[in-house]
Symmetry: C2
């Protein structure tokens, strides 16, 4: 086996940090537009990125072209960490977020498109900082789409092979041209969705700044808002419906848009994940809406619409793992909390910006369990598991079951770690599930009306790791902790 | 395929109800000994059992000897229901438990060796009622040992095939003699454990009545006590240690005792489940004990011993799914609640009277997940999963993963149902996990200091079903709800 190609890794990291440098430099235009005095912090951050990126690029010169599984996993995982370490600079240098831990937490929460915040007063931040905060979502969302649909399948370290095998994803022998081609198309779809939502939000009365920032956070299923009250600030049904619908659209596998554009509608129609995702969403929206209606007295049509809308927005927001809020669901019945925790666990589709277990794995796990019953009844018959009219290989079924189980084990052990760190019972459960799934708000003090400012220092670092693990589908990060992975 | 052999099922049910009749009649000696006036209710219950049992036996005459999977599943599931329906008679007829729902809940909690109670004042009950209540545990525990180790493997509906294949269990071609032989040996081990504990408890200062009742509840890992304060009533370290050790012994696969008696010690030594069970238990006891020590001040050796003992007793009690209590862990830190919930989920060994997922499945699930990492690193190598120095077949690994996942899905959906029924968040989580695992105490109002008296009527019936499902390893009960199961 080849020795670890650290030069190549350095070179890739160098390029990525230079890209971050360019974006930070471009963002310094925002304080100029709004006449704010923090241009300096963006240019300084861009400069620091430029120096580090340049040095990494230089040290990584003359790299061999070999790129194996280890290099792939390290690049993917460290991309997020490096982006966070440099991305926190504007917040930290300007004193907008004075604690390094908090700045790290906020920034990785941005890049992993989680949206969990430590900010007590979001409106205090300058336009530049708010824009950069929303931008981390947008970059993270784009990154995960490109990585999960174009890059990861090549290294076989993704949980989405199943899906990849079905899409016209890249094959091992011709990596680069295919990665580029696929990535460009995904980028185009991503831009179109962001642009469409921005226009619709502007039309609904938001200013351009808020419209762009919220579109960034929606398409990335991130959840950072520019307002402390999140979407509740606008109190506009139109805006709530627009954002709900774009959250749902962003929870769809992006390659389905690609098939749609190519007129391969049968691919969309036969996609079981999409069907299951939309049906599950609808069922839970209806249950929650009913639980919000007070049947003991006659309701006006308006209060019924409000119950429907609040449920529709909240369930969509949490299932797509966005995390925007219009109401504080901690005032709802505990039964809704359980439903909200369930949709935070499942998440939306693979190949979207959403997090969680992903619907495709939920569908296959349920089929595998049902299959056990059929097998018990007819022990000698063979029942292949079919998904979207293809037969799923036995070893992939095992992998999906192992993933889903590992996810739930990490949830349980993670809650234990949070509880040990001193967080309350509700906070540990809600905080862990929301961060692992990349959602944002949890339960109790870390619920939609609260934030993560007051949790212990250790919990913030632990949840940062959890956000990263969740974003990278567990295996990619956990592999790095596996000794066998590093043996030659 | 044969039509459903209802005559055979009736006959088996008839025999079982006649056995219950005989036991109820035998128990009427208790009120006579203690000079209590409820002999009548036991003899009346015995008489009702006798009539119904006799009629069933008569209707089931001339049955064909055919017994298939459907007959097996129906017999196993209905045995528990029928036993409960007749077993609640003394409580209900005498007015000791005036509500039918409560009487059903208490009795099925007894037979499934759960130990969740609706009684507010246990000491109010007569000696006869208390003895019958403990006896339901003992019968249920014996039943599950015989069914899971001797009967179920024959029908292929058990989750313990893996284990069964390894033990000298019965084979399909010679059912009856083998079932009887195996059952007799298990019965003997069960009696010896009960007898030994009774003597040791009597020696520690309990009276014979309490010693016998608590031995019944320990060996069955049930948890009903004759005192409202449970084991806390005695305040005797000796009694607490004796019960702890017998709970742990009762959580061991009973066939290991059998191998031990046959001098096949290598079978005991190579058993991974036993090793994993004892190590996990020890680790959690130590963590909880440390969390109970107040490090801010110097402790006497006595308070350290007390912390150790309270942790040892509580973790053993909940991990073996017994449910005895000496202290109210709701006053402990939330971190201990998470640990206690984890051990309630895992349970102890397959082939014991304990409930939960069972350690053997936990071990194999963890290995299967680790195997995925190895597979990612070396995609072309083959890594067979080994357990107790045997290779585990791929389809059994899938079955184990599917079971563990199904268990966790039922936990989540069950919590949702309890929350919908109006129970609180803590109560829904604790109540569901404790009843599915066959433990007893949950969290909050249904914690060790509370009981299930005040939960909604619907929740009581739902939790009764959950106790039954947990006891019969999910598949046996759920199969009955599968339409394909009933198709010819």
């Amino acid at each position: 086996m080849n020795t670890f190609n650290y030069r190549l890794v350095l070179r890739v990291m160098g390029i990525l940090v230079l890209i971050e440098s360019a974006i930070l430099l471009a963002i310094s235009i925002i304080p100029i537009i709004y006449g704010e005095n923090d241009v300096y912090f963006f240019t300084l951050s861009a400069f620091i990125c430029f120096i580090f990126g340049g040095v990494a690029l230089f040290l990584g010169r003359n790299h061999s072209p070999y790129i194996g599984k280890r290099e792939g996993s390290v690049i993917v995982t460290f991309t997020w960490i490096i982006f966070t370490l440099f991305g926190l600079l504007p917040f930290y240098l300007s004193g907008s977020i004075p604690s390094f831990t908090d700045a790290f937490f906020e920034t990785i929460s941005g890049f992993t498109t989680t949206g969990a915040s430590i900010l007590n007063n979001i409106e205090e931040l300058s336009h530049g900082m708010l824009f950069w905060r929303s931008m981390t979502h947008w970059m993270g969302g784009l990154g995960i789409i490109v990585i999960s649909l174009a890059v990861l399948p090549v290294f076989g370290v993704s949980g989405t092979q199943l899906f990849a095998a079905e899409s016209s994803g890249p094959t091992k022998d011709k990596i680069h041209p295919k990665i580029n081609e696929t990535a460009k198309r995904l980028f185009a779809i991503y831009i179109v969705l962001t642009f469409a939502e921005t226009i619709l939000l502007k039309f609904g009365g938001m200013n351009w700044f808020d419209a762009v920032c919220h579109s960034f956070a929606t398409v990335a299923t991130g959840g950072f808002s520019t307002k402390q009250a999140s979407i509740g600030y606008w109190d506009s049904p139109y805006i709530q419906y627009v954002i709900s619908i774009f959250m749902i659209l962003s929870g769809i596998n992006f390659s389905l848009y690609y098939f749609g554009l190519k007129n391969k509608w049968y691919k969309v129609r036969e996609n079981e994940e999409l069907r299951f995702y939309l049906i599950t969403l609808l069922v839970f929206v209806i249950i929650v809406a009913i639980s919000l209606i007070d049947f003991s007295r006659v309701q006006s049509l308006q209060t019924l619409e409000e119950a429907w809308r609040n449920s529709f927005f909240t369930v969509s927001s949490l299932m797509t793992t966005t995390g925007f809020a219009t109401v504080d669901y901690m005032f709802w019945k505990p039964l809704t909390w359980v439903i909200l925790l369930i949709v935070m666990l499942t998440g939306a589709s693979a190949g979207s910006t959403s997090g969680g277990i992903k619907m495709i794995r939920v569908v296959i796990s349920i089929k595998a369990i049902y299959f056990q019953f059929k097998q018990l009844i007819h022990p000698n018959a063979v029942f292949p598991i079919r998904y979207s009219s293809h037969t799923v290989r036995e070893d992939i079924v095992t992998r999906v079951l192992a993933f889903t189980l590992l996810y739930l084990i990490i949830v349980t052990l993670g809650i234990l770690v949070l509880a040990i760190s001193g967080m309350g019972f509700l906070e540990s459960i809600g905080g862990l599930i929301t961060c692992l799934g990349g959602v944002g708000p949890g339960l109790g003090l870390v619920g939609p009306a609260g934030n993560f400012a007051y949790i212990p220092e250790f919990s913030k670092w632990f949840l940062s790791l959890i956000m990263l693990m969740g974003r990278l589908e567990l295996f990619t990060v956990l592999l790095l902790f596996t000794p066998a992975f590093w043996k030659n």
